[in-house]
Symmetry: C2
Subunit: 313 residues, 2 copies
């Protein structure tokens, strides 16, 4: 395996003072509804409001002083952009973020508030890649991929590692899957630190590239995904796919209605704010009640950055 046990242990030691060790919440009424024991790992309380802070910090803080000098770059309009921006700031260097010019105002402001420089481009892959190339050439900064990077994956793996350290002894761990950084990191963490825990991924039906790729055993990118779980529109990379195909037990897809209804359940019963993306695993548990009944299940609540003016309920 490309990522070794010690890579995750080192990642945890590296970022422990930079990130939050997020709490794990339980909820009796959701346990009653699902007939399970659920343990919610609250990465919505993480810095920048999402688990992405782990992967970005692991890459950025693994660099030497000289390597950090020219800063870090990425393309993202979401949580990864904020994570690279904040981690760069904490590392005392610059961040260069390529963003589509139609990105929501709130995301632009968040990235700017961490002192990053934003480079706007048209909202398509070619324009984005061109702009990225230009930025990297001009700034000589280091590119931090949102998911298809072993350093990022090892960083995301620290999230489930913390749950293993706490000794929950879970039957299942469920994460949502987009590009697969968290999904593959969690899978490796489980393999090393809790081998009896089965890894299940949850994905929106409307962006089911991981499900299709898992089924056909080759990467099948999704075309124009349209889902409220906007963090999960991305398709798997070859590094994340390779890990997922090897270690994941199953991938469950859910409808938009199922996502919204699970999200509402979390908001109303747990009184916490989570993104549509991180409601997908609970939607999967509600959908496949028989599979999960009486089991101890970990769910990673991936993020809490939502536009309060535009809620689906």
């Amino acid at each position: 395996m490309k990522i070794k046990k010690k890579d995750i242990i080192e990642a945890q030691l590296r970022i422990n003072n930079i990130i939050h060790q997020t709490p794990v919440l339980k909820n009796q009424s959701i346990n009653r509804i699902t007939n399970t024991s659920l343990f919610f790992k609250c990465e919505n309380f993480q810095k920048v409001g999402a688990f992405k802070m782990r992967g970005a910090s692991n890459v950025i803080f693994s660099k030497t002083k000289k390597e950090k000098e020219n800063g870090f770059a990425t393309h993202s309009s979401g949580n990864h952009a904020q994570a690279v921006a904040l981690a760069s700031k904490l590392a005392g260097t610059k961040a260069h973020i390529v963003m589509p010019n139609n990105a929501p105002e709130i995301k632009k402001k968040a990235v700017e508030s961490y002192g990053a420089k934003i480079y706007y481009c048209e909202n398509n892959e070619k324009a984005r890649d061109n702009m990225c190339k230009n930025v990297l050439k001009k700034t000589k900064s280091f590119f931090v991929h949102p998911y298809n990077d072993y350093g990022v994956i090892a960083g995301q793996a620290t999230c489930f590692k913390e749950m293993c350290d706490d000794g929950y002894n879970l039957d299942y761990i469920i994460t949502p899957v987009g590009g697969g950084g968290l999904a593959s990191g969690t899978a490796i963490s489980a393999k090393y630190f809790s081998p009896k825990t089965k890894i299940v991924l949850a994905e929106p039906k409307n962006a089911d590239d991981a499900y299709q790729s898992f089924l056909k055993k080759r990467i099948i990118p999704v075309q124009n995904p349209n889902t409220i779980a906007d963090g999960l529109k991305t398709s798997l990379g070859e590094k994340t796919f390779e890990i997922i195909i090897k270690h994941v037990e199953n991938i469950i897809t859910v409808s938009e209605e199922e996502i919204i209804s699970a999200m509402k359940l979390i908001w109303e019963r747990m009184k916490i704010i989570c993104e549509p993306s991180c409601s997908v695993p609970l939607a999967a548990v509600l959908k496949q009640k028989k599979t999960f009944q009486n089991k101890k299940i970990g769910i990673i609540l991936t993020g809490g950055n939502v536009d309060l003016k535009n809620l689906p309920f």
Copy 2:
């Protein structure tokens, strides 16, 4: 003093296995904005979603088996109704709840879901009192007042007692004030368990009966209060007033805009759901920045029951 130190200690022992010992959250970005160290005691994560579970449980579980037999009654359309309903159920007895017939559907359903019986009346004090009398006469149940009751006050006092047990060593503790159950309970707890902590209350300008009563040193009930902080429309009772006038340092009033803006700050930065009522103390800190700067301040987030379809932002 009518409530002794041992009453609060006993209340805590009595309800410890019935209620949640709620977590205390911190938030770096709100600390930066306010230039303080804030410690949020999250009663929005309490059973029934509010601190009211403490007072109701303390009264109900202090009764003998025989006294419990005919059940418990109250009038409330809010969190206290749910608290009496659930505490009665856990005590193995019945709850009788008098509610105005225009109470929100969501509140009716919540109370019913705990197995309580609802008695509807017109939405005015006279109709409510008449209905209460009838219910008490018919059922011979025990009336649990929402706030003007020493057992209820001692129960609410356990909330700040938990913070004192945790050793936060606060300069200030701020609670919102409506009928004054939590406010007076917190004041007594501070007196006994953390005498150096000053007690400040926060109140909506549009329902400022506690502020007026505190100023004039006599109870001045509010007429037709109109505030988004619907949990704080009630006026002080003579028992809660007596404690507040004696032990509270100051009462700060805030506008509706200030409440909504503080609520938004909590939702966006802390990723937790809280009611308008429990955003009032943070609004007070934001308003009087000079008073509070560099201080260690406890804030009780009183509840998280909001209508997600009707948010103020």
